[in-house]
Symmetry: C2
Subunit: 95 residues, 2 copies
């Protein structure tokens, strides 16, 4: 069994741990306060576990608040903006 | 602002990332397949984010399945058993 892998992004302002189970491949992670532009290589189902994300989805000009327990979906090969005003934990499932 | 801290337990079979926000102090983490005995120093609210935990709470002889989205609570200075049959992500809030 392989070891749990931890990844860091944006100069260690975002860190995640990967997992694979019956639900598929996913990560849980934490974002520090800041503003980020993410790119997708697969469809992503992103759920806020604790905290708050303010998100600008591909093709949208509007920033939308995603609260604890809420999920947004981004298709593959897109980019999306995220503003983080407090440390926020997320779960990201890949398809 | 301090860097996001990653902790490892049980010979790297459990890893977590700490955060603090309006909800308080918490961690998100992943448990590899295995069986673990955890001890608490504060009250813990443990929620399954992805996967499944089978838990024996303090003072109980029964193993109970905690599914995705479900939460169990353990008081401070207790120990509890966890069986993990697939990689499982959790959120643990401390009080």
């Amino acid at each position: 069994m392989s070891e749990l892998s931890v990844n860091s992004y944006f100069d260690n302002q975002v860190k995640s741990i990967a997992l694979e189970n019956a639900e598929g491949v996913s990560t849980v992670g934490v974002m520090a306060v800041g503003e980020y532009e993410f790119g997708t290589s697969q469809r992503e189902y992103m759920t806020v576990v604790s905290g708050l994300l303010t998100v600008k989805l591909p093709g949208s000009e509007d920033w939308v608040e995603i609260k604890k327990g809420e999920t947004f979906i981004v298709e593959a090969n897109q980019s999306f903006g995220v503003k983080v005003s407090e440390q926020t934990a997320y779960h990201c499932r890949y398809e």
